[in-house]
Assembly symmetry: C2
Homo-oligomer: 348 residues x 2
Amino acid sequence: MHTRKHIVVIGGGVAGMESAIHLCDMGYEVTLVEKQDQLGGHVLKWDFLFPDHRPAYEITNELCPAVEEKANIKLQTEVKNIVKQNGHFEVALSDGEILTADALLVATGFDLFDAHKKEEYGYGIYDNVITAAELEERFQNKIPIRTAAGKKPARVGFVHCVGSRDEKVGNEYCSKVCCVTAVKQAMRVKESLPGCEVFCFYMDLRMFGRYFEDLYREAQEKWGVQFIRGRLSEAAEDIDHRIIVKLEDTLAGRPLRMAVDLLVLLTGFVPSEGTKRMAAMLNLPLGNDRFIKPSDEHLRRNLTPVPGVFVTGASSGPRSISESISDARAAALEIAAWFNHQTQHAVK
Amino acid sequence: MHTRKHIVVIGGGVAGMESAIHLCDMGYEVTLVEKQDQLGGHVLKWDFLFPDHRPAYEITNELCPAVEEKANIKLQTEVKNIVKQNGHFEVALSDGEILTADALLVATGFDLFDAHKKEEYGYGIYDNVITAAELEERFQNKIPIRTAAGKKPARVGFVHCVGSRDEKVGNEYCSKVCCVTAVKQAMRVKESLPGCEVFCFYMDLRMFGRYFEDLYREAQEKWGVQFIRGRLSEAAEDIDHRIIVKLEDTLAGRPLRMAVDLLVLLTGFVPSEGTKRMAAMLNLPLGNDRFIKPSDEHLRRNLTPVPGVFVTGASSGPRSISESISDARAAALEIAAWFNHQTQHAVK
């Protein structure tokens, strides 16, 4: 009797779910392990997506039921240990169960950079300094955008590259999607507070994706968002609880000091705790950005040098949702190709 | 007897080849139609790739033999007409053959923007204004970097965004990979001509990909490439055949005029003639960038609204090689899902 190959997918975000769906469709048995109490990952926390402003729940509404129908799902479960023996993986879970897997797919993704580490921006110190994720949560919960004192802000500032492209915090890489997230959120703030002045403090506007440039143009032309090139050196609170930002305006070529009522920090991507744990447990190589490094950045972006271990989504670097979905499918095919290769060699 | 589904892949670049390989592995019959006399597309013209400086032939050396082994290949062949009848496509080829296909995959990709259209940069007028593709060809053919008069250039300038982010030529989008290509080539010029001064004239440095930021840093710190923010307004030749460039240095906040011995234009992506023809022939919707618009930019990036017609690679917008490879696999799975869905409905 033919025993189906069993793949354990670790991580139930967009990439893990999409890979699991396609692996099931190819006839493999899949167990998806997710430490949270529901599937979806970061996308659960977004209100609407760029560049088309579609609601984020459309993504989870499509992927979650599909994967739940096809795969074995283990929620609120973590991988505690993995042992390889006789070509199989023994995967010990936090609930005591031990799964036997023929292949592993690491889809443990990213965490957002901890804004407390950029002390000079005052996150956790001043109430009117928040993160983009917190702003998104307000959008999602239909909470009006107000200062900590409950006033409509007259000026809102967005700080790009918080924890990205920053030697001081050891993250020299670009997090890719913060620029477009800031522009999206800046437009949303203008939409809900038309009188509010909105500023984006950026280094380079990395609007690399399809239609992103249109968003950047619309932000300026339709919504009057003001883009100021320069990195913030400091944010401090004044007696009225406004946030005084200091930067060098590198386009105007002079230091700039201004007050905003609310400062939003675009925190970048860092490898998640799960990604770090899996990399250590499985001895996977890392790039200098500390994300998992695949065997070949062009041809084998989902293969790792450890036989039977594959990687997908933001576990190997910052990625948009669209990119994670394509990457997840590529990973499913990489796994299938690996099994096929094994079978051919067994036959010979 | 079970008849295998037949898919015609139109375009034999990286995306078309990678899709074809995986479709064959899934058991489909695939015919790949390529108008050139060899497979490979644009990658044949690149010498080495970013961010790791690997030789481009490693990509074609892997993909070409694999697809040649598995798929039916028709070189020097164009699609002349497509008619849909009884749920099949009748694909008339330039050699008179008519293929019957169950699905079509459009992988006709991009062309480089025609630099002649930016008259003010003097391409085709001044001998010392060349394109990045022409510079790459010199690298590939080991032709030393010299001016038209055969002298070692003392100064080389790279112009980013030629035909990209430019309302004047009707291309408002970012072409995504020109920035990283310029930085890669600038380093290469410094490597072969250590005494040469190298300048990049840019608007935003869109080093969005993994390790791209490292390349940007290395260009500055190791190679001394000079980055000047501003768009060129004009390039004109002086009596010594040097190219005088005029731009506003937007960081220094003043107009800049300087002479370079060689000016390299980073021409952006436009839909290829084949992509335009396929879109018109099949009535596929286009984005405002005139590339093919898929049904869903997040979940269905390879599906078009025309049943049985799929799209992959740079036919739906600028993409790097790595991205095209992931996208090609995603397309293969999209096609498989579509056939499976049809079969399920037929059974019911």
